[in-house]
């Protein structure tokens, strides 16, 4: 389906492009110097084409598309030209643009939680777009059409849901509603700005599916803006890579992914953990950070991070031009050498060597043992009158075990109970039910003083390094704070801080600087240094890289691996990104609705998942390789994660289980009746009655 519509570069389409952007620059005036967010961007979009624009945060990818929509703040200075079907958009006023917006050019935004007006029903918000562009349409007709649109984007029970308010929809459903709004007037161009970034992988797969469907129905061209190379690989025809406000490489996805000509693209591709290869090889970090857009130095903006930069690169900024491969253009002085094969990806970004492991796998001591852990919350309803309407089974009897020097990956969708689990471990008090044993000591038997002492042994690194560090403290004090809690003398603290900074790859003399002077990746290193300062045995890592840009993720993951192996640390690594987990974890536990549904050694679980949920999770993860993506068979999960308050008899996964749907009725009864207990299947522990039939899934899809 996608192939038939894709633009074939060897036979350029006869039609004219529907969108032509020429030499677009966007500048935001600022008293500290103007921020040049977009610095001369040229691209065009053919009718029906799927263009993926990739870049890190601050690369100008969103700003350039907001300029197309005419939705930039009024203080932005926009130059160049944007032509839609030959009409210049930059010459139109808000009134003329608003006739085009929503009818011919539509947009899907990143955060579905805030993109819908909370006080109007979903139906009203879809109808609004219809009525604005068709004065002859009646309210009833708009309502009917809204129901139909909701059905198209896969909302179950649209007649009822059309009257729901946004807060009654899950994130995935809201994003479907956003797509319904976007396709309402049959647009010719849909701009989707990070439409799946805020969503879980299983929901991401569903939404991308809906977007493809929307494209088939409307025949619209799609511009997908994302930082996720995997998403582009699976869906786009053409890719455009942005860096520091310019396009640095464009071309058909197959060619750019297979043979990138710009070192930045090469670096990005090599730094992303790939589900197919993760764990078998080290990631290649792309060090440094994008340049400040307010004080640009001459030359190629990537030169300071580029391992093959030559003197010319620091003097002249390269043009985006072709280097022999039809349809591919790259902005690099050495692209000819790369295109001809003189410079290979491996020679530009060589893989770093792993460090020697201090503790061998096997019969090491148990650092953390969790048995039958349970945490239920009463559910209250009503802002004015509170009352209990049920129980949230956040964690419903789970077992975990981590040995010295090993990493346990805990994965699952948001709301599955991952955070509650680590909260319970870190709290170090007797759980509602079950047992938590740290270093052989049952936490329920700890005295107050022992508990404080034990906190040294268990430290945590949080998800968002921007939010988790006090912006008003110099980082030296941030790192030293755990030591003050444990009453370490001041002089020793300073020495330790310097040591820690060097350990995580920062300069010891950076201790006096404030957090805002550091990049996201550096801040996460500070977070890690703060956690390591008490010399812990177990580090709880709560989504430690998910808030970071892709290019810096690799550096942090490598650092974590090195620290574990050289210091003999154990990790409880919580993440939703299965590729990242595979890269670092020895064992993996897959969590669903407060239960562990599958547990096993990393390679066993990834190579041969036994639980249908694990299988669906794996297949939902996009792989940054178009060849792999296009040949993959997907196991799509239907619907959202059920509310943990729902009473589901038997297996809690059966409401979404793709295998359940294939079972004969007698077997389905068993799923509905008996709660599956963990049992050995192949080499994993699996909570499924019918995991032996897991292979039937492949033949069905």
């Amino acid at each position: 389906m996608t192939e038939t519509l894709s633009t074939n570069q060897s036979h350029p389409p006869a039609e004219a492009p529907i969108l032509e952007v020429r030499d677009l620059t966007v500048t935001f005036p600022n008293h500290k110097g103007d921020v040049k967010a977009v610095r001369g961007v040229d691209y065009e979009v053919m009718p029906g084409e799927f263009l993926g624009i990739v870049g890190e945060s601050g690369s100008g990818k969103s700003v350039s598309s907001m300029a197309v929509m005419g939705l930039l703040p009024s203080n932005a200075r926009i130059d160049g030209s944007i032509k839609y079907r030959g009409r210049s958009l930059l010459d139109m006023d808000d009134h003329e643009m608003s006739k085009l917006r929503g009818s011919e050019i539509a947009m899907v935004f990143q955060d579905p939680l805030s993109a819908l007006t909370p006080v109007y029903t979903i139906g009203e918000q879809i109808s609004e777009g219809l009525l604005l562009h068709d004065a002859t349409m009646s309210k009833e007709a708009a309502h009917e059409r809204a129901i139909e649109l909701l059905r198209i984007v896969g909302i179950p029970g649209p007649e009822r849901r059309v009257r729901a308010y946004p807060h009654e929809f899950s994130g995935g459903m809201r994003q479907r509603a956003m797509i319904a709004i976007a396709i309402a007037n049959d647009p010719d161009l849909i701009i989707a700005d990070e439409p799946t970034t805020a969503l879980d992988v299983t929901i991401q797969a569903q939404i991308l599916d809906v977007l493809q469907k929307a494209r088939e129905i409307t025949g619209a061209a799609i511009v997908l803006i994302t930082h996720d190379l995997g998403v582009v690989a699976g869906h786009a025809d053409r890719i455009a890579v942005m860096y520091a406000g310019r396009l640095v490489e464009t071309g058909p996805v197959e060619q750019v992914f297979a043979r990138p000509q710009m070192p930045y693209t090469t670096g990005l591709l090599r730094s992303v953990p790939n589900l197919a290869t993760a764990g078998t090889q080290r990631l290649v970090p792309l060090e440094g950070k994008p340049p400040s857009l307010s004080n640009m130095v001459p030359g190629c903006p990537f030169a300071p991070r580029c391992p093959i930069a030559i003197d010319t690169c620091r003097e002249v900024e390269p043009e985006l031009i072709g280097h022999g491969t039809p349809g591919v253009a790259a902005a690099c002085h050495r692209a000819d050498e790369i295109a001809s094969g003189e410079l290979t990806a491996g020679s530009i970004f060589p893989r770093p060597e792993p460090v020697q492991k201090r503790v061998k796998n096997g019969d090491a001591d148990r650092v953390l043992e969790v048995t039958g852990l349970q945490k239920h919350f009463p559910l209250l309803k009503g802002a004015v009158f509170k009352r209990q309407i049920g129980t949230v089974r956040a964690v419903d009897g789970i077992d975990l075990e981590i040995r010295e020097g090993q990493t346990l990956g805990l994965v699952g969708e948001s709301g599955c109970g991952k955070s509650t689990t680590i909260g319970e471990v870190l709290e170090m008090v007797a759980p509602q039910k079950g047992k938590i044993v740290i270093n052989g000591v049952d936490v329920s038997e700890l005295s107050k003083r022992d508990r404080l002492a034990m906190r040294k042994d268990v430290q945590v690194v949080f998800q968002d390094p921007m939010a988790a560090i006090d912006p008003r403290l110099p980082v030296g004090e941030v790192i030293a704070e755990p030591l003050t809690v444990h009453k370490v003398p001041a002089r020793k603290r300073n020495d330790t801080v310097a040591e820690m900074l060097e350990l995580v790859g920062l300069d010891a003399n950076m201790a006096d600087r404030y957090p805002h002077e550091f990049s996201g990746g550096q801040r996460q290193r500070i977070g890690i240094a703060r956690a390591l300062v008490t010399n812990p045995k177990l580090l709880v890592l709560d989504e430690p890289v998910s808030a970071l840009d892709v290019s810096v993720q690799a550096g942090v993951i490598n650092l974590l691996e090195d620290l574990r192996d050289s210091l003999g640390l154990s990790y409880l690594f919580v993440a939703h990104d299965l590729a990242v987990v595979r890269q670092i974890a020895d064992h993996v536990a897959v969590m669903y609705l407060g239960r562990i549904v599958e547990f096993g050694a990393s390679e066993d679980l990834y190579d041969n998942p036994q639980h249908p949920y694990t299988r669906a999770l794996m297949s939902a993860i996009p792989v940054p390789d178009p060849a792999v993506e296009k040949s993959r068979e997907r196991v799509l999960l239907s619907g959202d994660l059920p509310s943990p308050t729902d009473e589901i008899t038997g297996c809690s996964f059966r409401t979404r289980c793709p295998l359940f749907a294939l079972l004969p009725e007698t077997d389905q009864d068993r799923c509905a009746r008996d709660d599956p207990q963990p049992r050995r299947a192949e080499s994993n522990l699996v909570a499924c009655h019918f995991s032996e039939r897991i292979h039937e899934l492949e033949h069905s899809s």
Binding site: L71, S114, T117, E128, H167, K381, G382
Partner: protein, 327 residues
């Protein structure tokens, strides 16, 4: 739903009870009701003062808790809130005066809220433009000016205006003119000419504070993603702000409304004194000046009931505006 409303009213009853009893006990402990009789000419004997105080139930020789108990049993058994120092029943006095005050307060605070919301939204949309700056400075000027100064300034302006047109069109002494011809129309114009200045003062004060809050809430909303979504559907900036922005920006204001209304009762006391209105504000101030324990407790009950009613209203308003909190 009915059960929750009932529970809520029981809560309110308890709160009002605690507020009133606390007011009664503290004023009994610190006020000296005998003082106002001692300076009289001809002097009253100590025993006759005590017997007057016994009549009001405020004799300091009786232990406070005993007095409180007597006061409470009168209320609960006979609906009798005791008498003021002028021997008027407290309850009747409050009823007459409440209608005077509420006429002023309701109209003034509602108009003030509406004007404040409009100015706040306008200021947010025109942020840092001359019009926004003007409204901002004017608001701070009004907020910084004491109530009675505003009242007096308005009176000076009105005097000048009356002199200019040659008749006293605007009246600012008392609540009504004593000798107006009968009939609805003369009564109505008389009411208008008396209410204009105190209402204007209330509206100015209300609008000044409301507009500050509304402006900052609206600025948050302006940056919201859903405004961008509305524009991406094809709304112009202006209609997106009006249709999607204002409605959402009103939600947090409804909470503020309750508290503002409660403090307004206290604030309007000054206005009543300045404009010689015999309302609840004047009653409250006088009760304190004259060491009138029963009247003070009654005033506190009035303010408590008013605050609780307005907080209920604000919750109803909140639920009406915001579907996320509906039950």
């Amino acid at each position: 739903m009915g059960k929750y409303v009932l529970r809520r009213f029981v809560n309110y009853f308890i709160l009002a009870f605690i507020a009133t009893v606390t007011a009664y006990i503290t004023s009994s402990a610190f006020m000296d009701p005998a003082a106002r009789y001692r300076g009289q000419n001809p002097p009253l004997s100590e025993s006759s003062i005590k017997s007057i105080l016994d009549g009001h139930g405020t004799n300091p020789d009786v232990p406070i808790l005993e007095r409180t108990w007597t006061w409470l049993t009168k209320i609960f058994l006979h609906g009798d809130f005791s008498t003021t120092v002028h021997n008027n029943p407290v309850f009747q006095e409050i009823m007459t005066r409440a209608s005077v005050s509420l006429k002023l307060l309701l109209i003034g605070s509602i108009l003030g809220a509406i004007l404040g919301v409009v100015l706040g939204v306008w200021g947010a949309v025109k942020q840092y433009k001359a019009s926004d700056q003007t409204v901002t400075y004017a608001s701070y000027l009004i907020i910084a000016t004491p109530t009675f100064v505003i009242g007096v300034i308005l009176m000076i302006i009105a005097t000048g205006f009356n002199r200019l047109i040659g008749t006293s069109l605007i009246r600012f002494s008392g609540e009504y003119t004593a000798d107006i011809p009968p009939g609805f129309f003369p009564w109505f114009t008389d009411q208008l000419s008396h209410m204009l200045l105190p209402t204007l003062a209330l509206v100015l004060m209300g609008a000044a504070t409301y507009s500050r809050y509304q402006r900052s809430v609206m600025l948050d909303v302006l940056a919201s993603d859903f405004i961008r979504t509305a524009r991406s559907k094809g709304r112009t900036r202006k209609t997106a702000l009006v249709k999607h922005g204002v409605r959402v920006a009103l939600i947090p204001m409804s909470t503020y409304f309750a508290y503002a209304f409660g403090t307004l009762v206290a604030g309007s006391a000054m206005l009543e004194v300045v404009f010689s209105w015999h309302g609840m504000g004047e009653f409250t101030i006088n009760s304190i000046l004259q060491s009138d324990i029963n009247a003070a407790a009654g005033s506190v009950l009035f303010i408590a009931v008013l605050t609780l009613i307005s907080s209920t209203l604000s919750e109803v308003l909140y639920a009406a505006l915001d579907p996320r909190v509906r039950i």
